[in-house]
């Protein structure tokens, strides 16, 4: 893919803010920019503004652990994430950018009988609904990842795993830039360092946003905000099934050997992969108390290091290079919330919790289709906000609060 | 440290006022683990607690070990991130080496009380 590398990203920043746009998207992360990109490329809708309070990709799009997978636990999610995974596979070709997309395979490890049942169920459901995951025994596991301690330090023995060969990763900044570049080339306005402070209303209807750069009218307003969506929604009296939690991760210094797959364990609540630079990337579950803070804690580092070493003893000899925190919108049923809100002209794409990065292409494409046609595409219909009122929640053990 | 041994306590749950006024056996070890709850060594007579709704039940879920004051403090100083009490006698509870432990400080010696499921972990972390 080296032919893509030489060309600098060509971001055409707007020199003015229009009084109004057909579509105003709040949030210049992956989801907001992908929505703008697909509006422009698939539907010819280019009178679009993306409003970002920091710089593009400065929120969770730049803080996630970049894992792409489709091995979810319910049919609706498997279909959606499989579509997104396939779109990622084409994205370098489509955008002409090297996104450092690499297929690595993902092992999800079971340390108990219950875990084995869960991983077997995952493999069956994935296969039945269009993704590919197989249950593998301990012998195959140690062939795929010889560094694993199959005894789990005598405490977390490995009984089996599900293996998802299509598990991949990509460079998060480059994904954000590729979408921003593609959207801006077609005339989408991206306004950085502009904060939304309120909504413009006409009766019930949302008619635009109030910002630090003045009022901006919008035919439709879409919240693609990460972390602060309930605060935004409360400005129009909208209640959402969302809590915001901190999620921490760290990378070590370079591990000299190649570490092929992505390794995850629900039992231990950690997942480990190797970055393109050779650092080992370790992430964990969200912190339990809701918070918007970006502080990183020593106790996380201690417990996460302890648990990851139980899986991969070689990590013991590495050093922690960086640690950081993102804030995740966790929905009540651990599935995303996409589409209409009940407030006329206001749409949301939220609840991306700890699984937002892998959903960027499909989330953006489907939201764009919804905006352009006014109808909810079948792929995302199960994820509508109204599912909570209709007793159709999408509780997914396959997402389970890690990556 | 010496092996942790099962200790018999009586768990008393009652109003804070009743616990303040309760008559405990002379010289008995009485640990105020919450405002409305004590662990008292040995057996306690129901009539000794002036609260008609008091719960008085035998409690066998703790193992304990007495250690000399110096080595107890030495261990606590690197196993706790909270401030140790200065007065004697004193009671304190909290995470010790990551384990929920109750500690009774006397002038010459210290009692460590560990819930039974953590006894092996605690003994390992002591060494």
């Amino acid at each position: 893919m080296n032919e893509f590398v030489e060309r600098l990203v060509d971001l055409r920043w707007p020199d003015h803010v229009r009084p109004s746009y057909d579509v105003v998207i709040i949030g210049g992360g992956g989801h907001g920019l992908a929505t703008a990109y697909y509006l422009a490329t698939r539907h010819g809708i280019t009178n679009v503004a993306v409003i970002e309070k920091g710089y593009i990709g400065s929120g969770n799009s730049g803080r996630n652990t970049t894992i792409i997978r489709a091995n979810y636990g319910i049919p609706e999610a498997v279909r959606f994430y499989q579509h997104s995974l396939e779109m990622y596979g084409q994205l370098e070709q489509e955008t002409g950018r090297d996104l450092m997309h690499a297929t690595k395979g993902l092992l999800w490890i079971a340390h108990s009988e219950a875990g084995v049942r869960q991983e077997r169920a995952r493999a069956e459901i994935n296969t039945a609904f269009g993704s590919r995951t197989e249950y593998v025994d301990v012998k195959t596991i140690s062939e795929i990842c010889p560094q694993l301690d199959m005894t789990g330090q005598g405490v977390w023995p490995i009984y089996g795993a599900s293996y998802h060969p299509a598990g991949a990763s990509a460079r998060h900044d480059r994904v954000v830039w590729a979408y921003a570049e593609g959207a801006m080339r077609l005339g989408v306005h991206v306004h950085q360092r502009t904060t939304v402070t309120g909504f413009l209303r006409d009766g019930d209807r949302v008619t635009g946003v109030q910002t630090t750069a003045g009022p901006i009218g919008g035919g439709l307003v879409v919240s693609a905000v990460g972390g602060h969506v309930t605060t935004l929604a409360s400005m129009v009296g909208l209640r959402l099934p969302i809590r915001t939690h901190q999620l921490q991760a760290f990378v070590t210094n370079r591990y000299a050997q190649a570490f092929g797959p992505i390794v995850a364990s629900s039992g231990l609540g950690v997942y480990v992969s190797q970055t393109a630079k050779g650092e080992m990337l370790v992430g964990a579950e969200v912190d339990r108390a809701p918070a918007y803070a970006y502080d990183s804690g020593h106790s996380f580092l201690r417990s996460c290091a302890f648990r990851s070493i139980a899986l991969l003893p070689f990590l013991r000899d590495l050093r922690v290079l960086r640690q950081w925190t993102g804030v995740c919108d966790m929905s009540t049923d651990y599935s995303p919330v996409m589409g209409f809100t009940g407030v006329p002209n206001l749409l949301v794409t939220t609840g991306w919790g700890t699984w937002g990065f892998k959903a960027i292409p499909a989330g953006g494409e489907q939201m764009a289709a919804l905006i352009a046609t006014g109808r909810t595409p079948p792929l995302i219909a199960p994820f509508a906000l109204e599912r909570f009122a209709n007793d159709r929640t999408m509780a997914d053990r396959g997402s389970a609060g890690t990556h | 440290m010496r092996a942790l041994e099962r200790m018999l306590f009586t768990r008393v749950v009652a109003t804070p006022a009743a616990i303040d006024r309760a008559v405990w056996p002379t010289g008995a070890l009485v640990l105020r683990i919450a405002q409305d709850e004590v662990l008292a060594a040995g057996t306690v007579d129901l009539g000794a607690v002036p609260d008609q709704h008091a719960i008085v039940e035998p409690e066998t879920a703790f193992c304990g070990a007495w250690v000399d004051h110096k080595s107890g403090i030495q261990f606590l100083e690197h196993a706790c991130d909270w401030e140790l009490p200065a007065e004697r006698p004193a009671f304190a509870q909290g995470a010790v080496a990551g384990i929920p432990v109750k500690v009774w400080f006397e002038a010459e010696r210290i009692l460590f009380l560990v819930p039974v499921p953590f006894v092996i972990d605690f003994a390992e972390r002591w060494s």
């Binding site: 959402l240 108390a289 918007y292 909570f388 | 919450a34 909270w82 401030e83 929920p100």
Partner: protein
């Protein structure tokens, strides 16, 4: 470099690291939600998720094993020490 440790002042046990406690929420349903079904829906699924000071419950799992009530700033995780109360108000 100093490592910031989050701590809670337990009214019975004293100041302890936040890891000794479990978090518990006090659900808040806005008064303007009056329809009983809407209130049930809100109680089951919706969250205020306040960005700022929240009053909440914490259980001192490794100490007195009692719930206490305190105020925490979700933007910073700061817990003004004097706001802890016990038993819960």
């Amino acid at each position: 470099m100093t490592v910031r440790r989050l701590r809670i002042q337990c009214p019975h046990c004293g100041v302890r690291a936040i890891e000794e406690f479990l978090h518990g929420e006090i659900p808040t349903i806005p008064e303007r939600v009056v329809d009983p079904d809407a209130r049930d829906l809100d109680r089951a699924f919706m969250h205020t998720n306040a960005e700022g000071l929240v009053t909440e419950r914490w259980f001192h799992a490794m100490g007195c094993r009692r719930w206490l009530t305190l105020t925490r700033d979700t933007r910073t995780n700061d817990i003004p020490e004097r706001t802890t109360s016990y038993p819960p108000s």
